[in-house]
């Protein structure tokens, strides 16, 4: 086997040497990176540029050549508001409703999810019976498609769903969970936590297992209480992992769309409409299709995500550097 590899290496050595002789040491590296760079430019960088350009144009035409340049008008329309806390006072009220919903959704979903994930990770880190089984159970929803998650919970919560059938069975009055704005929003947060907490639990579990055992043994010898151990040892040593989880969950939370869209369609009214749904509907479902306005909202969202990503990179770097 080694012979085969060395023959192969010798075989590619000839053209490599030829390339280095002709082009120097640095240029061949670019040559090898070129395919990936081209793909990145085509499918990531170009769309970003196009998105920014579209955000500066108007009309419902899709081809850039048919669109008119409007400068910052789309951003100005989105930002025009008498009181940012009251969407009704904004020029683009649906955008601000989506912003409000997204902020509340992210705060609740991320806060609760990180809390539950930590609790679950702590339990699953203990020597309990069927630990492997429970780890699999908590991770299982992560493997499901968001649409499947949404449909499962829709079947449970709809007017003639499983939950209402059970409630009627035990003599309680059924309730239309998805028709009340507050309940629908609450269930949306719950569904999202249920679907994603397994992933974060896994990361936190890895973080917990990376904490050296001798620290706990020392605490035990000092007869420290479990709460004190958690507060003074587990939490501080888990904090770098917690921060990564927090930032990852924040980014994912801001980007939430598919499961909520399939679950409630953004309703009742616009009670569960999040920013990505607003962008999708403005650009693709509404008539006329306001690609400029949707792109402007998209650029604004991208800026928020850039900030969150920079924070995540900074935390990662700080962790690596100790």
């Amino acid at each position: 086997m080694l012979n085969v590899i060395s023959i192969f290496m010798r075989f590619i050595e000839v053209p490599m040497k030829f390339l280095q002789d002709k082009l120097g040491l640095k240029t061949p590296a670019w040559l090898f990176l070129a395919p990936n760079l081209v793909l990145f430019a085509l499918f990531a960088f170009l769309p970003v540029i196009l998105n920014i350009v579209y955000s500066l144009t108007g009309t419902d035409q899709i081809l850039l050549s048919d669109r008119t340049f409007v400068g910052g008008e789309n951003f100005s329309v989105l930002a025009r508001c008498d009181n940012y806390l009251d969407p009704n006072s904004c020029s683009e009220d649906l955008f601000w409703r989506a912003v409000h919903n997204t902020v509340i959704f992210v705060v609740l979903q991320v806060g609760l999810m990180v809390g539950f994930s930590l609790l679950t990770a702590l339990v699953l880190n203990r020597e309990i019976k069927a630990r492997g089984f429970f780890r699999a159970v908590f991770f299982f929803p992560v493997l499901l498609s968001p649409v499947v998650v949404a449909l499962i919970w829709k079947w449970i919560l709809q007017r003639e769903g499983v939950l209402n059938a059970w409630m009627e069975g035990v003599g309680l009055e059924s309730f239309n969970w998805l028709l009340d704005a507050s309940w629908a929003f609450g269930w949306t947060v719950f569904l999202s936590i249920w679907a994603h907490m397994g992933f974060y639990t896994l990361i936190l579990l890895a973080g917990l297992q990376a904490i050296p055992r001798d620290v706990y043994e020392a605490a035990m010898m000092d007869r420290a209480s479990p709460w004190r151990v958690f507060r003074r040892i587990t939490l501080p040593l888990l904090m770098p992992t917690m921060l990564v989880v927090l930032v990852l969950a924040l980014i994912k939370g801001v980007q939430t769309f598919d499961e909520v869209f399939a679950f409630t369609g953004g309703g009742p009214g616009s009670a569960t409409t999040l920013i990505i749904q607003y962008i999708y509907e403005t650009g693709f479902a509404a008539t006329p299709r306001l690609f400029g306005l949707a792109s402007a909202a998209s650029v604004m969202l991208a800026l928020i995500l850039v900030v969150l990503t920079v924070v995540q990179l900074w935390i990662n770097r700080r962790n690596v550097n100790g």
Partner: protein, 426 residues
């Protein structure tokens, strides 16, 4: 020598075969038809196109059957991006006009004018446009179905043909109460559906100069009533409030399951109801209730249009023209149980294949509703930007139902939305 001769023969044979294959490839033409179905429209189109293919060797029509949502949302984006099908069944008749193929050079224009008359205008850019763009395959009318079995069980008299919306609301509430039925009334979540009742309530939709306005006292009056009915349990609140954005939602499931007394939808449901209700209960068509502005439903429907981006304009026109032939159109109408828009077919009457007496009665009842359609409703259906206005209506009325906006605020927002949409649309 013999080897050389054999080689020459082989080369000649290969060349001939290659040329033949090349020629057949040159003559083979495939066109794509995007179709959505309320019942069997795409299946019936397939049957007719099979005959078309047999009569035109080398031609293949590939039918891409998609959900109705794809016709509404994906097709316009595909067309704008230049990646649409060759022809399709559409419902945004005037809104997609800029992409249409003018069939005039390829078809007998006189036959089309005589056969499709006024519906041709729905596909045109405006009064000066005389092109032929679409074959109206399904003429539809919005209106209501009732569960007559529930009326009988409740012992409540069915309101007469001149009954108002209030009469129907009162009667259906009484029926629902007596029979413990979940919902007295329901209306599809659609701006098209609510337009008919609003017009019956006096909505003019256009100002004196013909400019589109959407909101006026008549429109607001019906919206207020509709919102109130959604909140007092007269209307099934799930249908409009249960979903966000501008998504379409119907209430056919509730009607079919016997949970609904009165279902405001349209003529396209006959085949579905006949098929799915079966013997479970009796139902009938009662059309549109009356108000100060008449007893109007909304006309509408779907049509088959070709797209200018096609590589085979003549073939696309030929295929659509084949569907428009009187015998084929009659077959299509009969099998799909639709109301014909072809004047010749309508005049001769259609023998609806295999329709039960209840379905036959329903289709005839829909036919009788045509005369009640208000000119405002025809104008709205022919209005180029009606799809945008339907979406605005759905969005804002829903917000009023769930309490995010008052009716007054919702109507003010709708006015702003109309102005914005008209400014952006080209």
């Amino acid at each position: 020598m013999s080897i050389k001769m054999n080689l020459i023969k082989l080369a000649a044979g290969t060349a001939t075969l290659g040329a033949a294959m090349g020629m057949s490839a040159a003559f083979a033409q495939e066109i794509k038809y995007m179709c959505s179905s309320d019942g069997t429209e795409c299946e019936v189109a397939r049957e007719i196109f099979d005959r078309f293919e047999a009569e035109n060797p080398g031609v293949t029509i590939k039918i891409d059957e998609v959900p109705y949502k794809a016709i509404l949302e994906s097709l316009p984006v595909q067309l704008a991006g230049g990646t649409g099908p060759d022809f399709a069944k559409v419902t945004d008749l005037g809104g997609l006009n800029k992409y249409y193929l003018d069939l005039t050079p390829y078809v007998d224009a006189a036959y089309w004018e005589d056969s499709f008359g006024g519906t041709l205008d729905w596909y045109r850019k405006g009064p000066d446009d005389k092109g032929i763009y679409g074959m109206h395959s399904q003429l539809t009318i919005t209106g209501a179905y009732i569960n007559t079995t529930l009326f009988e069980q409740a012992g409540v008299a069915i309101p007469g043909p001149d009954a108002t919306w209030d009469d129907w609301a009162e009667a259906t509430r009484a029926v629902a109460k007596a029979t413990e039925t979940k919902f007295p009334m329901a209306m599809d979540r659609s701006g098209h559906r609510i337009a008919g009742p609003a017009i019956s309530y006096g909505a003019k939709l256009f100002d004196a100069d013909g400019n589109f306005i959407l909101v006026d006292d008549g429109f607001t009056g019906y919206v207020q009533k509709f919102v109130d009915w959604n909140n007092d349990g007269t209307m099934a609140r799930d249908v409009w409030a249960g979903i966000g954005g501008t998504s379409y939602q119907d209430a056919s499931k509730e009607f079919i399951n016997g949970q609904l007394v009165y279902y405001y939808s349209g003529s396209w449901n006959v085949e579905k109801l006949e098929d799915q209700v079966g013997d479970a209960f009796d139902w009938e068509v009662v059309g549109s209730p009356c108000g100060a502005g008449g007893c109007s439903g909304m006309p509408g429907g779907a049509g088959v249009v070709g797209f200018a981006s096609t590589q085979h304009p003549e073939l696309v026109a030929k295929a659509i023209d084949y569907l428009a032939r009187e015998d084929n159109y009659t077959e299509m109408t009969a099998k799909t149980q639709n109301i014909p828009a072809h004047l010749g077919v309508a005049a001769k009457g259609v023998d609806y294949v295999g329709a039960t007496p209840i379905a036959g009665k329903a289709i005839n009842a829909w036919g009788q509703q045509v005369g009640k359609i208000s000119p405002v409703a025809f104008a709205y259906q022919g209005y180029k930007h009606n799809r945008a206005m339907f979406n605005i209506t759905v969005q804002r009325v829903t917000q009023a139902i769930v309490g995010e906006l008052t009716v007054e605020q919702a109507m003010d927002r709708a006015k702003l939305d109309v102005a914005k949409a008209l400014a952006e649309a080209q």
